[in-house]
């Protein structure tokens, strides 16, 4: 199954996202921001990075790239779309997800192994988890504070669209410790932590069993792969 990874000028974790898809059993397909061609992929990842140097607002310029027309169409058709960090910022700028991401509460960039609680297993990117499960995913961002108006937050909570929540420590001041959210249909998910950095033993976060052996991120990619295969 083919999953596209879009590279924008300033994308940084595009190769990592491709590796994660491969390790999860899929076939990564490199997509270019300037094209109007999704090459028939069955899922899309908008990777992390600093597209356009975060100029204007993080993700704002990338959200208006040529390929985003096709990404928005595909998302509206129900194709699984995952936005990681800068990709999450693009999804909010493209209005595929509500709310926005602002500068971390403490002002500085933060990189840490972050514990999350999976709040919903009914999205296309979390179906391989059990609700309430605790996972560790690396987080690294400067503008990761999720905000939305009270009504939107209430709706996200009420409709079970908060996909991930920070546990133990809120690293960026996100409202209600929200780390990731989904759209109504559950096919579009955005999150600030980087699941593609927890997919391969030896290169992920430390666990009690062995250093850098955490692979909790793998199941986020597997969720979408298994969902597509089942459909």
């Amino acid at each position: 199954m083919r999953i596209g990874v879009v590279t924008f000028p300033g994308s940084l974790d595009d190769r990592d996202a491709g590796r994660a898809i491969r390790l999860a059993g899929g076939e990564p397909v490199a997509l270019w921001h300037g094209d109007h061609d999704l090459q028939g992929v069955e899922g899309i990842v908008l990777p992390g990075g600093f597209s356009y140097g975060d100029y204007l607002r993080a993700g704002a310029i990338a959200a208006r790239s040529p390929i985003m027309t096709e990404v928005v169409d595909a998302a509206n058709r129900g194709l699984p779309v995952l936005g990681i960090c800068n990709g999450f910022q693009m999804l909010t700028e493209a209005h595929l997800l509500p709310g926005g991401l602002i500068r971390n509460e403490k002002g500085s960039f933060v990189c840490r192994d972050q514990t999350l609680r999976v709040e919903s297993s009914s999205t296309q990117w979390t179906s391989a988890f059990t609700e309430g499960e605790e996972i560790v995913i690396p987080l690294k961002n400067g503008e990761g504070g999720f905000i939305a108006d009270t009504e939107t937050v209430a709706r996200l909570e009420g409709e079970g669209r908060v996909a991930f929540r920070y546990l133990g420590y809120n690293p960026n001041g996100s409202v209600r410790d929200i780390a990731g959210i989904a759209n109504e249909r559950g096919n579009v998910v955005g999150l600030m932590p980087h699941p593609e950095h927890a997919v391969e033993p030896g290169f992920g976060p430390d666990t009690r069993a062995a250093m850098r052996s955490g692979v909790d991120g793998l199941r986020i990619f597997r969720s979408a792969l298994e969902g597509v295969l089942a459909a």
Binding site: P9, G10, L12, D13, R15, D16, R19, G34, G49, F50, Y52, G53, D54, Y55, S108, F109, V110, C111, R112, P138, K140, G142, H194, E196, H197, E200, G202, F203, D206, R208, A210, M211, R212
Partner: protein
Amino acid sequence: MPETSLQAPIPVVDTVERAGQTPEREQPYAALGLKPDEYAQIREILGRRPTSGELAMYSVMWSEHCSYKSSKVWLRQFGQKVSDEMRERLMVGIGENAGVVDVGEGWAVTFKIESHNHPSYIEPFQGAATGVGGIVRDIISMGARPVAVMDALRFGAIDDPDTARVVHGVVGGISFYGNCLGLPNIGGETVFDSVYQANPLVNALAVGVLRHEDLHLANARGVGNKVVLFGARTGGDGIGGASILASDTFSAGGPTKRPAVQVGDPFAEKVLIECCLELYRGDLVEGIQDLGAAGISCATSELASNGDGGMAIDLDKVLLRDPSLTAEEILMSESQERMMAVVAPEKLAGFLAVTEKWDVETSVLGEVTDTGRLVITWRGETIVDVDPRTVAVDGPVYERPIAYPSWIDALNADGAERLPRPTDGAELRDQLVRLVASPNLADKGWITDQYDRYVLGNTALGFPDDAGMIRVDEESGLGFAVATDANGRFCHLDPYRGAQLALAEAYRNVAVTGAVPAAVSDCLNFGSPENPEVMWQFSKAVEGLADGCLELGIPVTGGNVSFYNQTGDQPIHPTPVVGVLGIIQDVAARVPSGWQDEGHNLYLLGTTALELDGSAWAGTIHEHLGGRPPVVDLGGEKRLAELLHAAAGESLLSSAHDLADGGLAQAVAEASLRFGVGARLWLGELCERDGIDGATALFSESTGRVLVSVPRDEDVRFLGLCAGRGYPALRIGVTDGAPDADPALEVQDLFTLPLAELRAASAETLPRYFA
């Protein structure tokens, strides 16, 4: 009102022709940093006075920073003290943008460390940011993909009111630039000492990987090939920045130098990296030279010198951010994120298609010639006509006077053995906690948590392990490890031995991971070369390093010299920062710096002597600096590294931690805090075997020592390995106390220290001053 007064005056261009006609015209060579005899030398080379454009070029290229005029005579040793063993893996040595080492399987690694000290004091954020940017462009110019960065930082006293300004700026700048560039930051070091108060050291190291066949050297060969400038536009920032700033001393009453600091745009550099790599892949360039210190002056004269010798450049073709710049300013500008390529005419269209794809602005400035002259025209007139080698290669060389420091004998005589050493457990415990909490030994998480260590997905080790490690080949697991070290206190006491101690420590830090040390890059930070005592320190440090590398059998592949690190007459401690790079066949076999399991035996490799002179203990507990630094035995270090490599290869080690600053006490503390598992130690046998007291056992900084943990069922094989290689190993404890069982560090008969208390002491220091 006459119409002309509304327009800017048209500057009179100082052409080669005019220079010939007005030989006596006074020129501001002194303000540009040239000495009278250097100016006279330029006139002699040219047979006339230089044009203002030529003067600009010579002044930046003959600056200390670009020409190495005071250090050259000493640096030659790195090329002379070389054995066959050292040449074995060396693909590119000193003199190119960065050294290149063969790491096997058709892969090569290039790495280099460079200073950005002076800009980082004036404007810490931009100074540090562009330091990262500059070293990364050196890596790209070799044809390599940059894969990691690390930083060696020195700041003033942690409690000085100005230190927080510099720390916030420098750390923020590195974080801003490195993170946005998508390069994992995998280690480095941070030291606080009042000697760096008005002169912080910001040394940035970058590593790149490439296939052997992708190696490129920056030179302008092939008459008729195009010379192309691409990347950011040229602006008025950083005019003479690195070259001028790093070539003089800060004086309190001097004019502000802020405009000479460059401004960085990491997004532009990230795009430039991808663009350059695509150009290399498509075989569309003969060579690419980065623009760093001295900008276009440096790139054109170096490319021409390293190639066919001639180049014709039309300066009007340079794309400008500020159209009012003069020709001299364009030649000297150090605007960041620019590269210069040499492109065959038939490949130009393909070249331009790639730069267009990445939205990188490009301009063809001229071409390679066989005239042996670098000729630059501006507004239709010739403003530069020089032999490029006289600018870039054959600059002045000084044999600066050296003098044995008048103060050093008295300093060496004042050893730490006179300082009281505690014997009772409570006092030893108290001193251990003070050491662990001291600024130089405390947890640096407040800094390193601001850096992305995950990007690219190949980080096998990073902070807080002893070295950083990156996987090079995803199939085979081939990788490299890299560590930087320096101890200015030791070098102040004895620069020869101090430099070797830095080398030995970086070497050991690479070895404990299981990697085999293979190459060295150094950044030599010193005071003014015009001070004979500083020049003595420099000569001794270089000699120590060159001798040390010869003995260890690993070559110096490149680096950088930074002089004039002083405020007024007060030089910094001599601080040669040594980066060692090692190779590991499979990163899966790497060894962490702390233990994760209970019940493993703890062994101390090496022997301990009363060596507290210059130690962290003497500095922290007694504010003392005197005596002679620890003895270095490089033959022993080599045997130790071989032992560690063998043990790691047979998976006998669950952890290995180098002993350096803070001695055994600090190593045990860090190794147990790494995964939160405690330990029980007994020092009796150690004290008896080595004839030392408890305080010496805990705090001495004797070299050649490593603390390892060994699973019990590997005990016999491990001890057999040590015995076979004749390296002393003594069991001094056992790991004990899981993270959820209130683990502690227990030193039998002396004290017990809960890890929670230890962690708090270590972790709270930096946030107290900076958060």
